[in-house]
Amino acid sequence: MSESNEEMNQDQKKDVFFETSPAIGSKDGIATLESNKRNLEEDSLENNKNKLSKINSHNNSHTTEITDSHFIDFKIRLLRHINQTLPYEETKIYSYLTETRQEVSRILKQSIIQKESHSAIMVGPRNSYKSSLINNELRYLSQDHSDQFIVVRLNGLIHSEQTAIKSIALQLELELKRLNQDQTTSADDSIDVSTGSLTEIFEKILKLLDATKTHENKDGSESAKVSVVFVFDEIDTFAGPVRQTLLYNLFDMVEHSVVPVCIIGTTTKLNISEFLEKRVRSRFSQRVIYVPEPNDLDDFVIASGESLSPMIPRTSDDEVVYLKKWNDKIDILLKDESSPLFLEVHRNYETFKSQTVFRNSLLPLVSGCSNFEELQDAITTCKAITNYSINQYQNDSTAIVQTLSDLELVILIAAARTILKSRDESTNFNITYVEYSNIIKSLNARIPSTNNLNSTTDKILDNLIKLWSKEDVKNVWETLQEFKFLTEKGAMGLRESSLAVFYASNYLIQTTTIPFDLRTYNMQITLHDLRGVVSKSSMFYPWTQL
């Protein structure tokens, strides 16, 4: 009851809240569409800004009386810049990506403005800004030409070949509804694409794409010609071993369709063209765009500076003062090769070489600050970045070994010892327990016992190390398995696909019938590793070698 009451309260609060900020829902109307969404975003930036400053001022009101609203504007701009969610004009593309960007932009412009058909595949590792380049260009084009193209987004991880067809149909339907809204033609019946069997749907799609042109001709306006842009994420999953019907038909459309069609795929596979079947490959334009990485440290430092310093907007505002100050500060810090910021960037370059990692670590840094001086301090010392990377390592196997309790540690050592002794590098609970009890016994033998002659009455001063019973140690054994120090011999681990899981679950695994004590395990950490990790002051350190 109390919970539901609370919920009610929350709801009420929510109501009130939204009444006080009525601007939020004002604009969107029937917004179901990509470009509308973008517009909406940009319009609602202002509202959100207000809202956030309200929240922030509310939070800080008890600490500092005067909250610098310009600083908060600046901070939000900076956070948006780091998250790359600023509107198009204020988005900065890394300078090492300029050429790639131009190429993407050229293809999209040719197909949207000049109504040509194109196809291209972008190849680059994860987080190499493939999608964000495409999205950025599409955002730009939607500013002036939003009624001239339709974007269909597909993701190979989410869509199978069948659902992709359905998804195309659905997205086309929605987008065409949007385009036809103002024309008020009775075209709604012909738009009903997404019902029927798969082949029917696909036929309808093809027909529709052909028909759009004739339909538009009634108006006689040439600008109404609509081109269709397909954005295929993970295009390699559609280039599977079986038939590749979808890709074949789409690439075929590029060649033959009356409607201008542009297909841009992204993939992480360098040899994507080898994935394509011959008939698909011959229809593909062979245009593969490789997304570059920063070449050297200088490039990387420049890119890091770009991730940190937002563009100064033309509409001069008071936050610009902060922006300028901030960008100058970043410039100075990055030029100084001994500044903590530069060192962090350098370390990132030597290890991850990833702007995304860098940006992730910047978020806590920026959002934790409540005024500009604090922010300047934070970026000068870079403590938050260091803390972030320290935190990332707190769950590594070495870190976990250091947090193990005495019993867990000695069992781990005992298991590692038995592995080293055994011929097939496997162990089981029985053998490990024997090894464990041997370790404890010989440790205890060295301790001069204060109360010999089994005076059971007063063992309160017993300084021997406790030998836990076999039953109790089973618990610890399972804990070690949970941390993946021990893995069952022959265990498959995580399966690649849901289908593999389905097949595997239909077969009895042999190990499931073996009694607990006798199951064989392999270890993911060796005795030698343990010797490096276990502290030398630990009582079990001498046992980390045979």
Binding site: E7, K14, F18, G25, D28, T32, E34, K37, S44, N48, K51, L52, N59, L79, N83, T85, P125, R126, N127, N155, L157, I158, H159, S160, L170, L174, D233, S354, V357, N360, N391, Y393, N395, I400, T403, S405, D406, L407, E408, N430, V434, I460, W468, E471, N475, V476, E482, F483, K484, L494, E496, S497, S498, V501, Y507, L508, T513, I514, P515, L518
Partner: protein
Amino acid sequence: MSTLFREYQETSLKSFISNDHTLTPPNVILLGPSGTGKTTTLNSILSASSNDIVHATIRPSELVTWKSLIQATSRVIQQTLILKFPQIGAPPALDPLQVEDYFGLVKDLNIVMSHYSAVCSTVHIVFDGFDLLQDIDASLLLVFLKLHEQISTGHLKCVFVIRDSYFVHRYSNFVIPTVVFPRYTQQQLLKILCISRSRDLSSQYNNSNTSGVEVIENFIQLILQSFYSYTGSNISAINDIIDLKWPQYIAFLDNETLKDSATLYRRARHLFTFVDEPLNKDDGEDQSANNGVEHELSKIARYILIAAYFCSYTNPRYDPSLFSRKAGIKSGRASYGRRKQLEENPTHRQAATFSLERLLAIFQAIYPLDDSDNGNDAKKGRGSLEQLLQEPYIRPNIEVFQTIAELYSLKWLATSTMSVNVDLLSAKVRWRVNVAWEIILEIASSVDFDIQQYFSDIAI
């Protein structure tokens, strides 16, 4: 209200979770072993009144397959939004059970979120224990990582709470912002437990005396010192032990011991030496439950198991000397010579395989004869050659085979091949016993068979 020792995690999580979708990345991972305060910290941030975050929580551990996971996702988001914004009116009814694939989920989410777009642009989905989904596979997380790209109206943010760091390492090239929750140390645990438990412990112990807090802190410290090595820093395990021990502990509290904690400890010492978890109680009443397994077995079955154990764990070379009655004539070691002392106890290893023939032979040798027959033999005269010839061994009759089949279906005996359609009587089939040493000891003692002497010179 902040979670103890989780200040860093809390502040950095705040920078990854926000009501304004433009300020945060689309996905975030909370990584840490169980009992490290992940859910507590996350909930304290999500439910904080200052930031109105719309969130839906899904517990994959309650679901089994990916299909039920996506159905639950669709259902939970719909419900959350309906409850949260009753003023908007229910969205078009969508049957979550019709979500058959990822695209179905995308479709539903698009419809639902566009319906609510006027009031709520950002929805957080929390997967509490994503890796605990039973049928987890590697591609599932990828789907949810990319889900936000497919939502055309509104914004979807996924928060994954994950225990297994190896699972996360698998996706490290996606560079998802991660907040790691390390295990608590013993000192941290002490503080946390003192704060979190003192109230409800003192409510159980209603003594008017003032030093209640001290007693409780003392008790928690004792529990930690005794059982920290057993539980590790798993806070829920320690809480369980505290719940188990506290009623017993306060029984020792009186006016004398209240002041003298050393005496109190001495009296209640046995509480801190044994875990006494309900599963392995050694009380008298539980004794029967412990022995329940072998009481259900017939005498023949027990001997078959013992014989099978011999087959798996003794070298066939020594069979004649161990089980032949002739060996008894030449008594002692002289009959078979010294058996090699093995480096390790063979019973600690997995069972070796054997053929059914050998099992039957050993079974015949160890199965005791009926008393009445023994009496007759005694009359005939001991030691005579006739007696040897006429010894009424048990024959492998229908009962024996039935029992073997029964043991096989109970999985006490297993064959080396796992296929279901195996011809159990085929000579090619190899068998193995599937019972641990402790259990076979119990079984042997229940029929007064001294199995230890057979292993005395090879086991340590």
